[in-house]
Symmetry: C2
C-alpha cells in the first residue's frame, strides 16, 4: 500500500525548519513508506535535508517566502492563504496533492485556513481540536474541543462526541470507546442546559459506535476510566493547560526535593530508571499532535515548542488517521445519527447563551 504523502509546513514552530525536517525524518525512519511535501523556504529546507539523506528522495519541496507569524490574527493570516507555507500545506490537502497536513504554527490561523480550504464534513457544524493525554490505564484519553470553539451548544457537543469516538476507535482499538461530557459534577442535574441536553441526546441515540457514560469531573480525566472527554473549547483549554501545568509543577517539585540533600541526590541516582519512566510518560512530546476533527481532510497541529521526537509523533498521528480512514469513520456515524434525527426529535440550534 502506498501512503498518500503528508504536507509539512516547514516554517512553523519555535525552532522552524531544522526541527520540522528532523521530525519528519524520524517518523520516516520508523515507517519508511512515508512521503512528504515540504512547504517553505527552499534553500533552508535543502540545507536541513543535507543531514537526512533518506528524506530527499521521499520529499518534494514546494517553495514559498511568506510565513504566518506566531502572534498574527487569524483573519490577517487568512488573506495570505495562497502565499504562506501554512496556507499552501493545507491547500495541498484540498487539491489532493497530500493526504494530510502538519503544522507547528499559529493555532488560530491554522484552524481558520483549514476551515476555509477543507470545509466541515456534512452534518458537522464546527470542527474541534482534539488531543491525546496520558492516563493510568492502557491507552491515552482523547479530549476535545481544546480551544477552537469558545462556546458550544448541545448539538456541537454531540458532534464532538461522535468525532472523538471515531478517533478513539483508531487509537484504542475498542469498538465502543467510553465517552463522557466534562462537567462540574457527575449528577444529572449538574452543569449548563447545553450539557444536560447533549447528555440526553447521547443517552437516547442508538447504534452509535460508542458507550456514553454521562458526566465526568476534571479530576477523573487521567484515571483510565474514559476514552473520550467531550467539552467546549473554553473549558477544554483550561483543563488541558491545568493538566500540563500541574504535571510540570509536580516534576519541578520532585526535582527540587531530589536535590535538597546529598541523601536525596544519591536516592535519585539509584532510582533513576523510575524517574526516567515518569519523565517519558509525562513528556508532552510523546503526546504531541492535536487534530482538527470534522473537516474534509486531516490537519494536525504540532506544539510550537515540540522537539524532533514531538514532530515525529505529530507526523505519525497524521499518517495513522489517514491509513485508518478517520474521515470515513466519522461520516458513517453521522449518517447513523441523521437517520435517527437524534432520538426522533429535531434538534434546533441553541442560542448563543451556551456556557
Amino acid at each position: 500500500m502506498t501512503l498518500p504523502r503528508i504536507a509539512i509546513d516547514a516554517m512553523g514552530g519555535d525552532e522552524g525548519v531544522r526541527v520540522m525536517i528532523e521530525g519528519a525524518a524520524l517518523a520516516r525512519r520508523r515507517h519508511d513508506r512515508f512521503k512528504f511535501l515540504l512547504v517553505g523556504d527552499e534553500a533552508r529546507i535543502r540545507k536541513a535535508l543535507e543531514t537526512h539523506p533518506g528524506m530527499t528522495e521521499a520529499s518534494e519541496i514546494l517553495h514559498c517566502d511568506d510565513v504566518v507569524g506566531g502572534d498574527e490574527k487569524p483573519t490577517n493570516a487568512l488573506r495570505r492563504a495562497k502565499t504562506t507555507s501554512m496556507g499552501l500545506a493545507v491547500n495541498a490537502v484540498k487539491k489532493g496533492d497530500a493526504g494530510a497536513a502538519v503544522s507547528a504554527g499559529n493555532t488560530g490561523a491554522l484552524m481558520a485556513m483549514s476551515k476555509l480550504a477543507l470545509r466541515t464534513m456534512p452534518g458537522i457544524d464546527r470542527p474541534a481540536l482534539a488531543a491525546l493525554l496520558p492516563t493510568l490505564g492502557e491507552s491515552d484519553v482523547i479530549m476535545l474541543d481544546l480551544g477552537a470553539n469558545r462556546e458550544c451548544d448541545a448539538r456541537n457537543l454531540v458532534q464532538f462526541a461522535i468525532m472523538g469516538a471515531a478517533y478513539s476507535r483508531i487509537v484504542t482499538g475498542r469498538d465502543k470507546p467510553r465517552v463522557r461530557l466534562l462537567n462540574i459534577g457527575s449528577e444529572e442535574t449538574k452543569g449548563t442546559e447545553d450539557l444536560q441536553d447533549a447528555s440526553a441526546q447521547l443517552r437516547e441515540a442508538r447504534g452509535l459506535a460508542m458507550q456514553f457514560d454521562g458526566f465526568l469531573e476534571a479530576d477523573k480525566i487521567n484515571r483510565g476510566e474514559v476514552d473520550v472527554v467531550v467539552t467546549d473549547g473554553f473549558s477544554g483549554n483550561i483543563a488541558l493547560k491545568a493538566i500540563e501545568g500541574t504535571a510540570r509543577f509536580v516534576t519541578d517539585l520532585l526535582k527540587n526535593a531530589f536535590t535538597s540533600s546529598l541523601r536525596s541526590k544519591i536516592g535519585f541516582l539509584v532510582s533513576r530508571p523510575a524517574t526516567e519512566l515518569l519523565k517519558h510518560h509525562l513528556d508532552p512530546n510523546n503526546h504531541n499532535g492535536a487534530v482538527f476533527l470534522g473537516l474534509n481532510g486531516v490537519v494536525v497541529k504540532s506544539h510550537g515548542s515540540a522537539n524532533a521526537a514531538g514532530v515525529a509523533n505529530a507526523v505519525a498521528v497524521a499518517a495513522r488517521l489517514l491509513e485508518d480512514k478517520l474521515i470515513q469513520r466519522i461520516a458513517g456515524d453521522m449518517t447513523s445519527l441523521d437517520e435517527q434525527q437524534l432520538g426522533g426529535k429535531p434538534v434546533p440550534r441553541a442560542d448563543s447563551s451556551a456556557a
Copy 2:
C-alpha cells in the same frame, strides 16, 4: 485577646463527628485560645470529646438530630436550615453566637444556607468559593470562584478580584497581591466579552489594594507568579479538579515507577525524605478549607474526605480570617471602588450569555 468562637458542623463530611472533633482539637493544640460551638448529635459529640479532654472546657454543644445529606439538593436542605447541624452552625454566625462556621457537608447546601442567613455584603452581587493552592513560589495562590456561580459577568469577576485580593493580603502579607483573570490566552483579545470587560475595569480602577496583571493561562496557576486567580465557577471548578487529578496522577505514576524494580525500591527508600517533602506539599489536607467570600460572616468549607489534620487547617483558616478582619478589608475596597464608579462608567449587569 479573646477570639470569638467557631461553630463546627460536627455531622458533615465522609467520616463525621470523630474527624471533625479531632480536627478542632488539633487546631486548638496549636492555638489554645480557640473556643468552639459544636453542632450536632450531643451523645456522639460527647463520646468523641472523651479522647480530647482539653476540648470539653473550650466547647459548648448545640444539639440537633437532623443532618443535611451529601447528595441532597440545596433547595431541599434550605427548608431545614433551622433544624440541621449545618443550618444551625451557619445561623450561629448570623446571631453572633460564633464568629465563623466550618462544615465538611454538602457544598451546595452550605452555600445556599450561608447566602440566606448571612446575605451578601453591600456592593457584592454574588459570593464566591475561594481556595488556596500550592505553588513553586513562597506563598499559596488563591483561586475563585470554584463552583458557586456557574456563569459570571464582568461585574462579578471584578468583585471576585477584590474579595480574592483581600484574602490574599492576609495570606501573603503583600500590600498589593498580584491578581489575574483566568483565560484561554494571555493576549488582550482572547476570551469572552465579560473577561475583556472585567480586565478593562480592573486596569482602569485606581486605589485598589491589588496589582492587576491581566490574563493568565491555566498552566501558569502554580508557577508562583500570581497571588489571586479570578474565574467563573464553571472554569474554576474544571481548573481546580484538573489540578487535583493531575497531582494525584503524577504521584500515582511515581509510586508505580518506584515499585517497578528492586533498584527503584532501594532508590525510593534512600530518597524517602525527598518524596515525603513532595507528599507533604501536595497533600490536599495541607490546603484544606475553601472560603465563601462576599458574605456578612466567615464560612469555611472543609473537604468531605479531609482527615483530622485537614479539618484543623480549615478551622485555622476560619480563625485567621476572623482575626485579620477579612470582611472589613473587602468592605474597604468596595467603598473605594464605589467612589470611582468603576472608572467613571456605570456598569450595567450583563445578560446571561456570559460563558
